[in-house]
């Protein structure tokens, strides 16, 4: 893909990523958020945080499967949209549920496991958002930066737990579906790492290959 096409695609993805936000604003402006608008906003922003988290995690597998390496250039933007929707989600909790009262918020975070988990996931997202720029990568060095950003896997697991924990058994299907998708995306990474170890091994002697097949790491 040429540079021009990539920038156009990035622009389109950026616009598409703001659509869920715009739709929510439209619903709010037209009094169409249903009988319990606060709950609607909280669920909606939570779901879209997860959607963007999964999209972000899909970039590497998609790139590997299609060899479309330019896809990587969408990842930072998708990650930052994850953070944006997470901020809106947190804001709806802090503002609507607790009237911005620090004491009430702190108590809820300490007392309710699903809120503790969700809050932990948000806190872990903050350093990733802050280091999502070229300056931070230079400053940290590629390796350290990458190590830091691996915490996205933990964040994804926490986000899925947060969703599962707050759901009743009668509405367990959506959080389970997200957990399964997250599981698949993480599983692909484990497999990918094993496979990447293999070719290196194949060039050496037969015995060494056997050794690597037994203990790929």
């Amino acid at each position: 893909m040429n540079q021009h096409l990539i920038s156009t695609t990035r622009g389109l993805v950026f616009l598409a990523s703001t659509l869920p936000m715009a739709w929510l604003a439209w619903l709010a402006g037209n009094d169409a958020l249903g009988a319990n608008p606060v709950e609607t906003v909280q669920r909606y922003t939570g779901l879209w945080t997860l959607n963007f988290l999964l999209l972000t995690l899909s970039v590497s597998p998609l790139r590997a499967l299609t060899s479309q390496h330019w896809l990587l250039r969408l990842r930072r933007m998708l990650g930052l949209f994850t953070f944006t929707y997470a901020c809106l989600h947190l804001l709806s909790f802090v503002g609507f549920d607790h009237d911005f009262s620090a004491q009430a918020i702190a108590r809820d975070i300490l007392k309710r496991p699903f809120i503790s988990i969700g809050f932990a996931a948000f806190v872990l997202l903050v350093p990733l958002a802050l280091t999502s720029n070229a300056w931070a990568i230079r400053r940290l060095g590629g390796k350290r930066w990458q190590e830091l950003h691996r915490s996205i896997y933990l964040i994804a697991i926490l986000a899925c737990l947060h969703f599962l924990w707050l759901s009743k058994i009668t509405e367990i299907v959506p959080p389970l579906a997200y957990a399964v998708l997250t599981g698949l995306l993480l599983w692909w990474r484990v497999q990918n790492r094993k496979q990447r170890a293999m070719p290196a091994a194949r060039t050496t002697q037969v015995q060494a290959v056997k050794f690597f097949r037994k203990r790929p790491d």
């Binding site: 009988a35 319990n36 709950e39 549920d97 007392k111 496991p113 699903f114 924990w165 058994i169 367990i172």
Partner: protein, 304 residues
Amino acid sequence: MFHFTKPPASEITPEAQFSRRRLLIAAGMLALPSLSTAQNDQTLPYRRNPAWNPEDQPTPFDAVSSYNNFYEFGPDKDSPKANAQGLRISPWTVTVGGEVARPLVADIDEIIRWGIEERIYRLRCVEGWSAVIPWLGLPMSELIRRVQPTGKAKYVVFTSLADPAQMPRVRVPVLDWPYTEALRIDEAANPLTLLAVGMYGNRLPRQNGAPIRLVVPWKYGFKSAKSIVRIHFAEQAPRTTWNKAAPHEYGFYANVNPDVAHRRWSQESERRLGEFRKRPTLPFNGYAEQVAHLYAGMDLRRNY
């Protein structure tokens, strides 16, 4: 024999007020134009009971009839309204039996003829939202008086319809169908307990539990079983649906109690449908004066 408590004088509607009912119905229709939908246009003959008229403003009908938990029709708040409209609610009979001297099978229209009154109650859901609803119904105590429970009757068990042909989600075993709820007999006989057949001046919408449902305003909403087909007076406490599904989250009593948190969230406050800010939750949903004595000496933290 179970002794029925006489209603206090404050509960008896004066004749003058009773005869004003036509005017009130007319006023109600004017105030709530959304009621005049085709399936719902049958008004009910009722008298307003001013003893149960809180200062709280009733929640808009549209909110109460579009935001429902009725898992036989689907998992989301808007699924009951979307999926319940095919439910056949006439003819409909309720079978009342068990430990009673005079068991009966009553048609819904017969129950309405026994005398329906309007009471405006607060409703508090275990999920943390609440509403104020003008119900039309028969006091449960009136049914108890008619069937005459024996001395063995300690509990009243309410069973909802579970017809997979009409209720698609009954095929999915997310809960142990049919939906079963129960009250201690003194709770059932409390003057507050209502068998509702209508709301906002009309018959119940299907998504709100037509044609007949329980309303126990001092307990979390899940105690108030919908679309009831069977009322059974029993000696032993039954296992109730949500209690079976998640015993640590949903107790048998399920009295509204801001001091006892749900496993996963606080019950200290609630959000009224149509309001933005939360408001504090009151013990027994504000009906402590009427029902607190039922639980004298009980540890309500253990009997949640």
